[in-house]
Amino acid sequence: MKKLLEISLGIVTSVGGFLEIGSITTAAQAGSTFGYKLLWAVALGGLCIIFLVEQNGRLSAVSGHTLPGAIRERFGYNYFVFMFVILGIVSLLVLGAEIGGVCIALELATGVRLQWWAIPVGVLSWLVIWKGTFSVIEKGTSLLGLVSVSFVVGAIVMHPNWSSVLRGLVPSGQSQNAAHYWFVAVSILGASISPYLYFFYSSGAVEDKWDESYLGTNRIIATIGMSFGSLISMSVLVLAFLVLAPRGLHADDYHDLALLLQDAFGHWGFILAVASIGICSLGAALEITLELAYLTAQGWGWNWSENVRPRDEARFSLTYTVVLLLGTLLVLVGINPLQLTVFSMALTAATLPVSIVPFIFLMNDRHYVGKNPNGIFSNIVVLSIIGLASVLAIVTIPLQLFGSK
């Protein structure tokens, strides 16, 4: 019974915590510009993140190590620092985008310009982390984030042409505006395969004291949670095609995002869309902030846990304080949050190999995964993800130059 409750809560957490400003924006841009043609990218990203999250959970449950710690031990200090710098910069940009997402929601709700919200949002996020425990942050924001399921309901209510939707799941090219098509595809993959998701998950497994008895739980949570999460992103894409495209909108202005549920639910649709953007972005901002602090503390071997008082882990708590300050500054200086979002999602895609290549080694190292290493199938999947990530790393910058709007 206890396990069943844990599994349910884990799935709810994964579903509620899946959507964020990056996945909303990239899916909305894809749907409003290319119809259902990019649904395959959301599905592919979802599939990759299922495998990566499952393997991270397994690594932590069996070895008691988190991913950053294992990477430093297995690949040495110099590689760790290289990964830290790259992930640190990308995660900070994504954090800026998420804080911007909360500010966008607040501007849409109140009419007060988003820059004015940067400091209150930064302070609120800091207070939640400073005073809250890991489960309050993880489960609290995710439970509230379930409001984003309204996108799935909205998409069903709008009666899309299901055969066209299914055709969108099959990858296809695009002759017109091809550079932009592929740029959006790369951004979707960057938004779906977020390193912060699996780094955070790995720390969570250690925070929640998982051991080998949790391997089944881990597999179910990763598979069902991430699948439903991807379903929400797909619904955003479907809605963007049905609602934004007929109005000639392409989700390049954040006001467009508030309209996504308007046709399905009227004024309530506006409230649900804004609440989803705000809550999901806040949840993501908290997770990314913690992920950066975890990455730092685990790599350098400091005290770390979101479950002890800040004074008992001074370096850890000051790290997340500085991280939040920097993320807030990005919004405060007036960078357009939507442009920052699209840019940071593409950059995430470009830097994926740095954090994914270690997987193939760690998940086959019996010092870490004992009797539970990757099977042939899982290894083929990780190698394919590495291949995909390497292609993304090569094509992202040219696409950024020629394919972004």
Binding site: S63, G64, H65, G69, R72, E73, G76, Y77, N78, F80, V81, W130, K131, G299, W300, G301, W302, N303, W304, R309, P310, R311, D312, E313, A314, R315, S317, L318, H367
Partner: protein
């Protein structure tokens, strides 16, 4: 034991499981005609920087001295204090009094304790 695989970069903890840092460096005692022995493990910024680039390490040292830093040397723990080296390297050194955590305790007293709700 394979030193690089089983010791270097591993988490160092005290007997109560409190983290002291990671094994940033290993100092070997090499005497002619004898098998090399581990003398110390080191925890400290200079050791880490030296692994990236000795020049970076020298540059950091001179900059830190210019800004008035006093005790820059990495903290050395005699290998005789190592209790076990399974998942973590457990050493017989109390985290509450370990020089490896000097900066952590300084930050706690001078910064974090001054912030409400700590």
């Amino acid at each position: 034991m394979e030193l690089i695989r089983d010791c270097l970069d591993k988490q160092v903890v005290d007997p109560h499981g409190k983290p002291l840092g990671r094994v940033d460096g290993i100092v070997l005692d090499v005497t002619q005609g004898k098998q090399p022995q581990i003398a110390f493990i080191e925890i400290g910024a200079l050791t880490r920087l030296n692994r990236i680039s000795p020049r970076l390490c020298r540059w950091y040292r001179s900059l830190a001295l210019k800004f008035g830093a006093r005790d820059l040397e990495s903290h050395s723990i005699p290998w005789s204090k190592a209790v076990s080296t399974a998942i973590e390297v457990v050493v017989d050194e109390d985290a509450k009094r370990s020089p490896a955590l000097e900066f952590e305790y300084w930050l706690r007293e001078h910064v974090v304790k001054k912030i409400p709700g700590n």
